[in-house]
């Protein structure tokens, strides 16, 4: 079934409902159809609670859709794929393991040997600005530092598709910008496909080939904007007139959705 022509990720009429503890149904996603081509950098924006995290977890194969199908490489996703790396909204580290051991954790879960990747782990830790903290425990780090560890953890096994749920949410503006460009560099160098959830419209436009705007409950895709800004993007990109046009379009879509309907 897998063919070169099939998009890397495709969702067809995907609906996801949750049953709350009081017994009522919450529709987190309603009939979302979406295709993501290989090597694309896609950002997802939308109001809180509109189903962005749910969307990533469906693509990651962590939960099944209530209706519709999720395909990866053209094949229906029956179980999680090892080609997918996930950065959660919270760091979710193992509290008893050092930074270094946390970064190596996915390799152990995959049953791979860790020895050949140890240098890479050190390099990644250095890259996100945590050099010198290799042996620290998560409880000895700030929230933003923990989140950077979880980014290294997703990169260590070189997944083809990176699902990132507000990975820079807990970081200060400067670190956030540094890491954004670092991520762009990794994406460019390793040719990965990225789905990146964010609340920052600036960040969404700056990073993306394509911005997906979602509505509040039930979550639907209301706008899908290709960002044709030239690459490589630089810190100055956000001051260009084109950038501002994109940001404005997306902002008005987000705000109209947040207020109206």
């Amino acid at each position: 079934m897998a063919s070169a022509a099939a998009p890397l990720v495709s969702l067809e009429g995907v609906t996801r409902r949750f049953v709350t503890r009081s017994g009522t149904d919450v529709t987190a996603l309603q009939e979302v159809s979406l295709a993501i081509e290989r090597d694309q950098f896609v950002t997802v924006v939308g109001p809180s609670g509109c189903g962005k995290t749910t969307l990533l977890k469906l693509v990651g194969g962590i939960m099944p859709p209530t209706l519709g199908t999720v395909r990866l490489n053209g094949e229906v996703l029956a179980r999680p794929s090892r080609k997918v790396g996930m950065v959660f909204q919270r760091p979710v580290l193992l509290p008893w393991r050092s930074v270094f051991e946390n970064v190596l954790f996915p390799l152990e879960m995959l049953g791979w040997r860790t020895a050949p990747r140890k240098d890479e782990a050190r390099r990644l830790i250095e890259l996100v600005g945590l050099g010198g903290f290799e042996n620290a425990l998560p409880s000895e780090l700030s929230g933003g530092m923990q989140q950077r560890v979880s980014i290294c953890r997703a990169l260590i096994y070189e997944p083809e598709l990176l699902l990132m749920d507000e990975p820079f949410g807990a970081l200060d503006a400067m670190t956030r910008e540094d890491l954004s460009f670092e991520l762009l560099r990794i994406w460019n160098e390793k040719r990965k496909t990225v789905m990146f959830v964010t609340h920052s419209i600036t960040e969404a436009v700056l990073l993306a080939d394509r911005v997906i705007v979602m509505t509040a409950r039930p979550g639907r895709v209301v706008m899908d904007v290709p960002i044709t800004l030239p690459r490589p993007r630089t810190p100055d990109t956000e001051f260009t007139a084109e950038f501002k046009d994109f940001a404005k379009t997306i902002k008005s879509a987000v705000y109209a959705e947040a207020r109206g309907c």
Binding site: K57, R79, P80, R82, M86, V92, L94, E108, G111, S139
Partner: protein
Amino acid sequence: MAAVDTTLRRTLIEYGQTTLAVVVLLVGWEVLCNVLSVPKWLLPAPSQIAADTWEIRAVLPMHFGATLAAVVGGFVLAIVTGIPIAVLVVYSPFLRRVIFPFLLTLQSVPKVALAPLLLLWIGYGLHSNMIVAATVAFFPIVINTATGLESVDKELLELTRSLDASTARVFWCVRLPWALPYIFSSLKVAITLAVIGAVVAEFVGSDKGLGYLILTSSGAMKTSVMFGVLLLLSLLGIASFYAVAWAERRLCPWYLPTNTDPPAI
């Protein structure tokens, strides 16, 4: 240097205060017993307790050893049965439905009252004292281990699922370490319960052990020996509690327990 001096002095003062309190208590006790001439069988003076206990020093190690063996054996038995049962209960809803009613019934019966029945079935001796100690110590281990295994961060499990990790790997690398602090907090309760269980078993039927000594010296109105043995018993309880607390600090250094004192009995 000055800082070291002050901390050292503070420690010395603290220990000094504790020692002083103990000395005052013992001297007061001794004096009161003599002044009021309290009968020996009612409340012996500390000097009397020391002297009478010293007299049976030849047999004490044997009795102490028997109780220690019952406590440690029962404790280990409770661990090697309790933890696997908790694992089964967590992983199999079927076994949970089958095992839990039995566990709850067992827990609601005062195990002390079960001791005579157990001894009737399995006979007398060290092995049965161990089993009684284990029955008493077992329940908190099962409950806490199950709670710990189930309290793993949901998103952490989702992370392992996104890696398509095997159940065994998730158990050894995530669930079990996550549950360790829960397990240890139950072990600290269990070791204290194992002491109680062992002594009860020795009360019910045994020819050695500290419990047996207490029973026989009570029958012989040797109150002073009872006191001496009680002291040994509490030493055994405290030492085994701290051994578990020490193992906890070694095995879960990331988790700093707030409570390192023995629970009040």
